[in-house]
């Protein structure tokens, strides 16, 4: 007999209100995309949590690793000139 299966793993993203981004809310199992979408609706929006759902098979997500932290994110640390607070503005000048 073949190995029993619970379907594949999917990640669920829900948009709570118009105009805001979809947010990761959790995972579920499903064997096809329509099932994943319906399961997401039934599992993650029972309490009016959403107006739009994205589902994506977990294996299709490429994620960075903890080892990447240094090379990916630390180089941004010294680029303070990207932030408005870096700049001095004379007192009394408004709307800048």
């Amino acid at each position: 007999m073949e190995k029993d299966t619970q379907g594949t793993l999917w990640e669920v993203f829900v948009q709570a209100n118009p105009g805001i981004p979809h947010k990761h809310v959790g995972s579920l199992h499903a064997s096809d995309e329509e099932m994943a979408l319906q399961n997401a609706r039934d599992v993650y929006t029972r309490r009016k949590e959403g107006i739009s759902i994205w589902v994506v098979e977990a294996k299709n997500i490429k994620a960075s690793s903890p080892e990447d932290i240094g090379s990916f994110f630390e180089p941004a640390n010294d680029k303070v000139y990207r932030h408005p607070t870096f700049y001095k503005v004379p007192d009394g000048v408004k709307h800048l």
Binding site: D4, T5, Q6, V43
Partner: protein, 312 residues
């Protein structure tokens, strides 16, 4: 490569600073194993926990109660699902976890091996069992493992109605007819001690708690949670005129806490070992659901495979 000792120090320092551990982060093997054990037990408890209450869905005494109970038992399925998913992030899949449950290798909460004999039991479960569980879960939501902690936050949010609906049932019964009142007291008599025990063995007999506390896998000692649960629940029983079935229960003015009488740990360990009144039927119900569902799962896989061929 950093050596194990440095990694462990970094790991501990993150936890001390309140930074969550995420699935891909380095973690001690013992931490991973312990989490898998705890989280899957928790997940199993949710889905086995559906059964004693599920018994009463078809017999709920009003349409409102029927809908509430359906929604509550459904939430438990959801919680089981969140927890299985969170456990899967540790590198074990759901079918393996279910296999452990079905073969009796994995445990679940002792409380669900007691029978639901009357409608009042549904009230008592919501009030006492969910009440005790919430104490535990709010603590766990502060735990160190990210996916577990996030699942717990969601679960706590959803679970707050469970406790209330249970107490509401108890109120209706306690302020109802004489027969209803008796039903409520009888349910309290039967569920009180199992609820006290479900919070786990006493601290002096609970092994390797220190390390788990340091790693924030366990957040509070069993006895501390138990004390808080009793302190909160006793006044609730008083309010509806029901009597806690513990003749030794006493309020200690100095500590400001209740002190309970002796707990029958022999019963607790026996129920855990499989000798509770319902262990066999609970497990059988889960195994049957799994077996009867197998051809369904196979069909969905076969259908999905056919669709993939058509699409490609």
């Amino acid at each position: 490569m950093k050596d194990e000792k440095t990694l462990l120090e970094e790991f501990q320092s993150k936890i001390d600073k309140g930074i969550k551990i995420e699935p891909k982060d380095w973690m001690p093997e013992k931490y991973r194993k312990q989490l898998i054990r705890m989280m899957s037990q928790h997940a199993h408890s949710e889905i086995v926990g559906m059964l004693p209450e599920g018994n009463w869905i078809t017999r709920a005494p009003s349409l409102r109660r029927k809908a509430i109970l359906l929604a509550k038992v459904q939430d438990e399925a959801g919680h089981g699902m969140y927890l299985y998913s969170a456990t899967e992030t540790l590198g074990i899949d759901r079918s393996e976890l279910l296999e452990q449950l079905h073969t009796g290798k994995a445990k679940y909460s002792s409380i669900f091996n007691y029978p639901t004999l009357t409608w009042a039991d549904i009230g008592a479960i919501g009030w006492l069992v969910d009440g005790a569980a919430i104490m535990n879960q709010t603590a766990l939501a502060k735990g160190s493992y990210g996916p577990y902690s996030r699942a717990m936050v969601r679960i706590c949010k959803e679970e707050s109605f469970h406790n209330r609906q249970g107490y509401e049932i108890m109120c209706s019964l306690a302020f109802g007819s004489e027969e209803q009142k008796q039903m409520a007291q009888d349910a309290l008599n039967r569920w009180w001690w199992p609820a006290i025990m479900m919070l786990g063995p006493s601290d002096d007999s609970s092994p390797n708690s220190d390390e788990l506390m340091r790693w924030k896998v366990k957040m509070e000692s069993n006895d501390a949670i138990r004390e808080r649960f009793i302190d909160r629940t006793v006044p609730q029983a008083d309010y509806i005129g029901l009597t806690i079935p513990d003749p030794d229960l006493m309020f200690n003015k100095e500590t400001g806490h209740y002190k309970h009488g002796p707990i029958n740990w022999e019963e607790f360990f026996n129920v855990i070992k499989g000798n509770g009144p319902c262990n066999k039927i609970r497990l059988k119900a889960r195994v049957d659901a799994d077996r009867n569902g197998r051809w369904v799962r196979e069909a969905t896989e076969a259908y999905a495979a056919k669709k993939r061929i058509v699409n490609s």
